[in-house]
């Protein structure tokens, strides 16, 4: 793992030296309308440090070109770097890949937090990156307001402030019903981010998570998907930004959505926080009468 700690980071520093990101944050802060970039990656672990550096560099240049305020990378992104270990690349497409990920989890985690910190500082945007995935734990790293926040799947809430708003990360199982998002809505969270992918190619199955929560709770949702063969299983997904149907073009409930369930890409959307706040205000909070049922068992 020396290659990650030493050579890779050193090379990355050299490559990133010429990129200036300061103008980006000063240009776009302080507006209620802002841009989101949600990536969809194909799980192809890096074979060489050069390949990894090229990948990171290309993403940073895209971010600086499109000037978003939130960028999202999917879960398993950090696991792509396990391909730099000798003889590991093929094993990442078998069940043994998960064992490998667990064995190098601590090193991978610290390396990836440092990497996110660097990308966040360079681009100056709120950068949400899932995640280091192992048998024991999964993490998400969020760079916001010059700080790096690290959350695991054990944390009950994963909320950060960004430019006057609140943003929450939900692990996929937390998007499957109203409970966690509703709790966070009560804490004035405006934007919800997740990284869902599915073993089923059926698009209706893919709609059961964040998209459905946007329709029933009236929230902005962002999904960033990792697709392809991950640890021996085939995953499908689609990166999107969702909102209540009434706020979206053609009333699909998607502000933007990638159509391909198997290929890499990036979904870019502009959203307006005033619009979602107004929509939210139009709905009375009568659901609070069910709180004893929701949080205290049957009433």
């Amino acid at each position: 793992m020396k290659i990650l700690d030493g050579l890779f980071i050193k090379n990355l520093d050299m490559v990133l030296k010429g990129i200036k990101g300061e103008y980006l944050s000063s240009n776009i802060k302080g507006k209620s309308s802002f841009r989101i970039m949600s990536y969809q990656f194909d799980f192809k672990p890096f074979s060489t440090p050069d390949e990894a550096i090229y990948f990171i560099n290309a993403r940073i240049r895209e971010i600086l070109r499109y000037l978003p305020r939130i960028v999202v990378f999917p879960r398993y992104t950090a696991n792509l770097f396990l391909g730099l270990l000798p003889f590991s690349k093929k094993r990442l497409h078998t069940e043994k890949g998960l064992e490998l990920s667990s064995r190098f989890y601590t090193i991978l985690k610290s390396f990836y937090i440092e990497l996110v910190n660097k990308i966040g500082k360079i681009t100056g945007v709120t950068f949400v990156s899932g995640t280091v995935f192992s048998e024991e734990e999964e993490i998400v790293v969020i760079y916001a307001g010059d700080d790096v926040h690290v959350f695991t799947n054990e944390d009950s809430t994963k909320v950060v402030n960004f430019e006057g708003y609140k943003l929450a990360f939900l692990f996929p199982d937390e998007t499957m019903d109203y409970k966690k998002p509703r709790l966070l809505q009560e804490m004035d969270v405006e934007v919800f981010i997740t990284s869902e992918n599915w073993e089923d190619e059926n698009e209706w199955v893919m709609r059961k998570g964040m998209w459905a929560r946007s329709q029933t709770l009236g929230i902005f949702g962002i999904n960033s998907a990792m697709v392809g063969n991950i640890f021996g299983k085939e995953f499908f997904g689609t990166s999107f930004v969702s909102a209540p149907a009434v706020l979206t073009k053609n009333f699909t409930g998607f502000v933007v959505k990638l159509n391909d369930h198997k290929e890499k890409g990036v979904a870019i959307a502009d959203i307006n926080m005033d619009v979602i706040e107004e929509y939210s205000r139009s709905l009375p909070k009568t659901y609070r009468k069910y709180w004893s049922f929701t949080w205290g068992g049957n009433s």
């Binding site: 499957m176 019903d177 109203y178 509703r182 059926n202 209706w204 199955v205 059961k208 459905a212 929560r213 329709q215 029933t216 709770l217 209540p244 149907a245 009434v246 009333f251 699909t252 409930g253 709905l283 009375p284 009568t286 659901y287 069910y290 049922f293 929701t294 049957n298």
Partner: protein
């Protein structure tokens, strides 16, 4: 040749669901659920059994819930109904225009998926009544969770004993 259609005649109807201004009120129907966006009337054997914004009723040992008003818009109610052993929920909502209509349809579909319960949605959109029937994807052959959507009345047979 287009798709083949088989018509089945029902000589008995256990439960009829309709909107207040277009009621199906036949004496030979055991339970009539008639509602709008404000109130629901439940008729049993032609007589009013209950009038409320939400109702739990049993028919042949199958419990169901009917809901209107703001409660019908929040997922909390559908989970609550499921916890009370309801096998399905009848919801009444009103909207203006296509955008509002799509919102209602997506919401009803989503409630069925997250609470794992069948939802019979009766929607009045710009003066016209629409029906939507949604079920959890896992329990439905077609794998999209949509059993019926349309503005015409539809007969269907559901076995709640085999599909709890």
């Amino acid at each position: 040749m287009g798709p083949q259609v088989g018509l089945l005649e029902f000589d008995e109807v256990d439960i009829a669901i309709s909107w207040q201004e277009e009621p199906i009120l036949k004496e030979w129907i055991k339970i009539n659920v008639i509602g709008d966006d404000k109130v629901i009337d439940i008729y049993e054997d032609g007589k009013v059994l209950e009038t409320s914004t939400y109702v739990f009723t049993d028919i042949f040992d199958v419990r169901f819930a009917a809901v209107t008003g703001y409660d019908a818009y929040y997922p909390e109610f559908y989970h609550f109904a499921k916890s009370k052993d309801a096998r399905f929920v009848v919801s009444y909502k009103k909207a203006d225009g296509m955008a509002g209509f799509m919102n209602l349809k997506y919401q009803s579909w989503s409630y069925a998926q997250e609470a794992g319960i069948m939802v019979f949605s009766v929607m009045e959109v710009s003066g016209k009544v629409y029906y939507g029937v949604y079920a959890p994807i896992e329990r439905f052959r077609k794998k999209n969770g949509i059993i019926y959507e349309g503005s015409t009345r539809n007969f269907m047979e559901v076995n709640f004993y085999e599909n709890p």
